[in-house]
Amino acid sequence: MIGELYTESLAGAAVEIEHVDGTRAPLEATRWREPIAGDEELLTRCAGPTLDVGSGPGRLTVALTRRGVPALGIDITPHAVHLTRRAGAQALVRDVFGHVPGSGRWATVLLADGNIGIGGDPLTLLKRVRELLRPGGWVLADVAPPGTASKVDRVRLRHGDELGEWFGWATVSAADIARLGVSAGFTCVDHWTRSGRWFARLR
């Protein structure tokens, strides 16, 4: 499962992400436990109740909670949700395409750390997230640099001989986010770069 190997990776195990062509790269999930340069670009723009989709160990959910911004993290990995709660923030084991509390009332939905790739179909994900937002609410997302090719990969996690199931994961370039956002029903889309990261904002 994604969950078990992701949990091992959060604990520091050398879990890899493997593509269908056989290439592999370290997942290094522990990097999502500490602040990352550029986080402030996202955090300062979360003005009201914020849903952190694919919140992992809860780095951003926790930072928002400490600032007094109401925040809920959702993740499909129970251990990641446990880490978020232990750090003093609210989180639930939820799939973004399943039942999510506060649907239609979130001021901000975060798709940080490449989570716009969840499900391998960013158009469907953005349409879903739009249902979760209140009218006039914002999506804040990490996107890939403009020169990157947008794509959908089939990947799986691997730890030695232990293999997870294949799942879809998308990469969305900053150059494509506007047309994707408009297709999903957003009317206002922009993107910018800071601290080596590219961000997009959709309303």
């Binding site: 269908v20 062509d21 056989g22 179909d121 158009l123 090719a149 794509k151 959908v152 089939r154 294949w166």
Partner: protein, 218 residues
């Protein structure tokens, strides 16, 4: 249920990137709309084939044109020979069953034609479908071997002959699928639409109502 897979190799229909050889006479936006129609016709035909797996090897992102039931993988980098060989190898790694690959330029393809081509592949090591322009529109292997495809010169009148020659040398038996016209130019588009008046592609072409003479230029 046929225990095999169909791979559609396609480019996201974005203006200026897809079916650029239809411009002129069509605008880049119209060419992209025609590409989207052809892709959707192709995918819907594939969706009706009783086959175990359906894979879309895509350059770009999926859109509302993608019907359910497809696994999406990204295309590899390189020339068309490398991308086709890579898509078949990657699909086979995902699902280790025979692979039949088609493109997005034959919207006239029917589920029946695809099903009979899959049956041909079940009786041979390879299946090959020639295109009227000298290329090929369908290529299947019981077990894909990238070496067969790598280095085949693409978009030439002898592309198909080179591939078929290689297949006949490397495989014990090669089955043939019928020849189809693939859409490259506006003249091809008119031919294909006339052949498949039921298709989204034909409806889109008609909606664009190009003066009849323009379709005859090559």
């Amino acid at each position: 249920m046929i225990d095999a897979q169909i791979v559609v190799i396609a480019k996201e229909p974005v203006a200026g990137r897809a079916k650029t050889r239809l411009t002129p006479p069509y605008s880049p936006a119209q060419a992209a709309q025609l590409a989207a129609s052809a892709l959707e016709d192709t995918l819907r035909a594939v969706a009706q084939v009783p086959v175990r797996h359906r894979v879309l090897a895509l350059d770009g992102l999926p859109g509302s044109w993608l019907p359910p039931g497809f696994v999406v993988i990204s295309q590899r980098h390189g020339g068309l020979d490398e991308r086709i060989a890579g898509a078949m190898a990657d699909a086979h790694r995902l699902h280790p069953v025979p692979v039949m690959l088609i493109g997005m330029d034959t919207p006239q393809v029917t589920p029946e034609l695809l099903t009979s081509s899959m049956e041909t592949l079940a009786e041979h090591d390879a299946v090959y479908g020639p295109a009227a322009d000298g290329g090929f529109w369908l290529y299947g292997r019981r077990v894909p071997d990238p070496a067969t495809m790598l280095g085949v010169p693409m978009s030439r009148p002898d592309t198909g002959t080179v591939l078929l020659h290689r297949l006949r040398r490397e495989c014990r038996s090669v089955g043939l699928a019928p020849e189809l016209v693939d859409v490259d130019t506006a003249a091809d588009a008119a031919l294909v639409a006339a052949e498949a008046p039921w298709s989204r592609f034909a409806a889109m072409l008609e909606a664009m109502a190009l003066p009849a003479t323009a379709g005859a230029e090559r």
